[in-house]
């Protein structure tokens, strides 16, 4: 039996992908549950508290207790909701967030010791040609769960939440797409695993060190900002902001449906972090560790999965730190940030990378160009004076024309 599994399941890409898909699904569900614990712990530490520490040692069993609680809560469906969409929305939010893992390059190429000579397998669920485009398409579908949930709830606050999420998603897709384009142009590949392999090139004597972030730090930063917006994390959580919209799109949700929204949000965070790690932060690579970066042994594959997950975890932690550091942007500030700063900056970066490709200049020109773009953007923002909102503008116009003219 074991021999049969070895020969026909584990040694073939399809069988292995299937096994990996199920393993990842379980692992990521657990990771999501523990993300919520981590979030609570981190926010507690930042606020000089201990956080959950009653269930199990250091509160490590808290996710179980939370899950049980969500299961046992009364599942309320208000009378005036659109039932079909109301039930569909959390499922959509969750499924769409989970689908993205398929193309993340978890472990790179490897070979089983019993299958020497056969072509190496890829420790990745699916290696598709359109790679990144698939991920971008699927990731932005995530907003459908939120919009549909907000619409189906038949509640003003939920509706506002959904509307804001849609507008935010539309705006931030643009700089996100262009930041991704910069990485695609820089590495020359759409497949994520090939992007990682390109980053495996040595810089000087150090192997596996040519991470895209070293050439395009600004693009990486912008991708991170847009990822915060895509996942509706603070400072961009306008879709659910408690002070204004109660709970935003999930105001009317309870029990497991609410939990699904949360799971979806955290799963989305993991996908987005994985995307950033693979594109800009060298995927599973660690500079200078040739065995990890190159070896075909299954142990190296496992280590690479560990490194990739570790990098994702670092990003998740950073998401959470940002949450407790920055205040939420007003809606007009959100839009201004996207359309007036991020979009022009990413446009400049794309143009820069295109010029570098066309002229065949060294990749280090990109770094200098990034810094130049950052400096120019800073200078422009300093020179352009304080931002003026539409309301302030109309007030100023009224003052200029006198009180009679406004009436």
């Amino acid at each position: 039996m074991w021999d049969w599994i070895k020969a026909h399941v584990l040694s073939e890409q399809f069988g292995f992908s299937l096994v990996l898909a199920f393993a990842l699904f379980g692992a990521i569900l657990t990771a999501v549950a523990y993300c919520i614990l981590l979030e609570r712990k981190l926010s507690a530490w930042v606020q000089d508290r201990y956080g959950p520490n009653r269930v199990g040692p250091f509160g490590l069993l808290q996710p179980l207790a939370d899950g049980l609680k969500f299961l046992l809560k009364e599942d309320i469906i208000p009378r005036n909701v659109d039932r079909v969409l109301f039930i569909l929305a959390p499922a959509l939010a969750f499924v769409v967030a989970m689908v993205g893992y398929a193309i993340l390059p978890w472990g790179g190429r490897f070979q089983w010791p019993w299958a020497e000579g056969s072509p190496p397998l890829l420790a990745q669920v699916a290696s598709v040609d359109i790679g990144l485009l698939y991920l971008v398409a699927v990731a932005s579908l995530g907003v459908y769960g939120i919009v549909i949930g907000g619409w189906a709830s038949n509640n003003k606050y939920s509706f506002y939440g959904g509307m804001r999420a849609a507008a935010q998603m539309l705006s931030y897709e643009v700089p996100m797409g262009m930041a991704i384009l910069v990485a695609i142009l820089c590495t020359g590949h759409l497949r994520l695993e090939q992007m990682v392999e390109v980053q495996n090139q040595p810089i000087g004597p150090v192997s596996g060190a040519s991470w895209t972030v070293f050439f395009h730090p600004l693009a990486a930063l912008i991708l991170f900002i847009t990822a915060l917006a895509e996942t509706n994390r603070l400072p961009f959580d306008l879709a659910e902001c408690e002070q204004e919209l109660i709970g935003g799109y999930h105001t009317e949700y309870s029990a497991l449906k609410l939990a699904l929204f949360f799971l979806g949000e955290y799963a989305h965070m993991i996908t987005n972090s994985g995307l950033m790690v693979a594109m800009f932060f060298g995927g599973y690579l660690i500079p200078g560790w040739t065995w990890l970066n190159e070896s075909l042994s299954p142990w190296a594959m496992l280590a690479r999965i560990g490194v990739f997950s570790g990098k994702i975890a670092l990003f998740i932690g950073f998401y959470m730190l940002i949450r407790w550091t920055l205040v939420r942007l007003r809606f007009d500030q959100l839009m201004r940030l996207a359309w007036k700063s991020l979009v022009p900056i990413t446009m400049a970066l794309v143009a820069l990378q295109v010029v570098i490709i066309y002229t065949g200049w060294s990749r280090w020109v990109a770094l200098a160009g990034n810094l130049a773009v950052l400096l120019i953007a800073g200078a422009v923002s300093l020179a352009s004076g304080s931002p003026v909102t539409g309301r302030q503008q109309s007030l100023m116009r009224r003052e200029a024309t006198g009180p009679g003219a406004a009436a």
Partner: protein
């Protein structure tokens, strides 16, 4: 000359000019992250702040902590209340209900045959204690107030006297004035 109240009371504040780093925003983000990280990695700060409640308890100021009410007993163990209705009148939440009757004792005219406080309605403001002419009703430092029904949370005379018996060692009755008991405790 009468000055306008606006000139006296209103303080006009101009919007502060943003400094250069504030306008660039990004340096300020890193400054904020520094603060966040500092708090995150300082275990001492949370050790000083957090009280692990059921195991540890806060140190209370016994004289003026406003917890559950009690009805004091006088030196002979009788209820000290004279049913004057001052507390019920002073109560902003209307949670005190007294039924008074002629007193069997020679030293006062009335005493309460019923004295109910709805602890769920009470806002623990301490007005009843202020109003009481004989210092019969007092708020105690007891704050674990639990019950399984609303009826159970309406404390009658017996219950309030029991609270007195429980707490008299921690906080003696004010009248006659007793001083020198520890001012803090758990």
């Amino acid at each position: 000359m009468v000055t306008d109240w606006k000139d006296r009371d209103v303080l006009y504040v101009d919007q502060p000019e943003l400094t250069m780093t504030e306008r660039l925003y990004l340096p300020q983000v890193f400054g904020g992250l520094k603060t966040t990280l500092r708090h995150m990695f300082k275990k001492r700060l949370r050790d000083e702040t957090v009280v692990q409640y059921p195991e540890q308890k806060r140190v209370l100021r016994l004289e003026n902590y406003r917890g559950v009410h009690r009805l004091n007993r006088d030196e002979q163990g009788r209820v000290a209340c004279v049913a004057c209705f001052m507390c019920a009148t002073a109560c902003p939440a209307h949670c005190i209900h007294i039924v008074g009757d002629e007193s069997p004792w020679p030293d006062r005219e009335k005493y309460p045959i019923r004295f109910d406080i709805d602890e769920l309605r009470c806002i623990y403001c301490g007005m009843c204690e202020e109003a009481c002419p004989v210092d019969a009703i007092e708020l105690t430092p007891e704050y674990h107030l639990v019950g399984t029904s609303r009826e159970e949370m309406i404390f009658d005379k017996e219950k309030l006297l029991m609270v007195y018996d429980r707490t008299k060692d921690m906080k003696p009755r004010k009248n006659p004035p007793i001083t020198g008991y520890p001012s803090t405790g758990r």
